[in-house]
Amino acid sequence: MPIVVNLDVMLARRKMRSRELAERIGITEQNVSLLKSGKVKGIRFDTLEAICRVLDCQPGDILEFRPEPGETP
């Protein structure tokens, strides 16, 4: 999928662990892990809002559109 989740990068920049993020945004650590690995079909606006609030960032810092080779951007 050309949507890449950069949550692990943001977590590293903020020096925050997945467990802490999970606790602060109110989802399970397992779901944070799935989100980090991009193994989810979507993200709710309220989850995205909570992540941006806790990590003090923009949605674009978390999600990135990266076209696959040969695909027109």
Binding site: I27, Q30, N31, L34, V40, K41, G42, I43, T47
Partner: protein, 186 residues
């Protein structure tokens, strides 16, 4: 793998229908056992068999010999076996509900198997009736032998119910797929 069994809505549903699931779980083997005992008692009683089939065939049958009654019992074991299969799936379905496996593909498939086994049991039971009527009257002299076809309103009700259950299982399968998709959105 996303866990769809530990959501608050599923927990609430489990709390609401838990007692019903437990009851149905234990009712399933009890029903299968009850039917078996009734069949065994019926076919082991020559007077009962002769009276019942004389009534259904509207004929004056002479006491049905033991070998024929044993045959009748064996024929009845085929729909009974399918009933056991349906009860087993009922047990599995409600055991799954109790552990929170409600809107899952596995639950939908178990419901479908339950409907199919139940439907087959009713159809085979109906198809066995002419065979049973021959079995219980074959010892009669020519002219006294019968072949009977019975179809009762209850048969139609059972078929309608089980057909509806099958359709519901298909709907349930689609719902399970949607639930799985939703569970993949965090």
């Amino acid at each position: 793998m996303i866990d769809v069994t530990s959501r608050p809505s599923v927990d609430a549903l489990r709390a609401r229908i838990g007692w019903l699931c437990q009851t149905l779980r234990f009712a399933a083997p009890a029903y299968a056992l009850w039917v078996f005992v009734l069949l065994a008692l019926h076919w082991s009683n020559p007077t009962d068999v002769t009276r019942a089939y004389s009534h259904w065939l509207k004929a004056d049958l002479v006491e049905v010999p033991a070998v024929q009654r044993a045959g009748g019992f064996l024929v009845h074991m085929i729909p009974w076996g399918l009933t056991v299969l349906a009860c087993w799936n009922l047990w599995r379905l409600f055991s799954g509900f109790l552990t929170g496996r409600v809107f899952t593909l596995d639950a939908a498939l178990t419901l479908r198997r339950l409907a199919l086994a139940g439907f087959a049991a009713v159809v085979v039971d109906m198809a066995a009736r002419p065979l049973l009527s021959i079995l219980v009257s074959i010892h009669m002299p020519p002219g006294g032998r019968h072949i009977g076809f019975f179809f009762q309103p209850n048969d139609m009700l059972n078929l309608m119910f089980l057909g509806g259950l099958f359709a519901l299982a298909q709907v349930f399968k689609v719902a399970a797929e949607i639930a799985e998709d939703n569970a993949a959105i965090v």
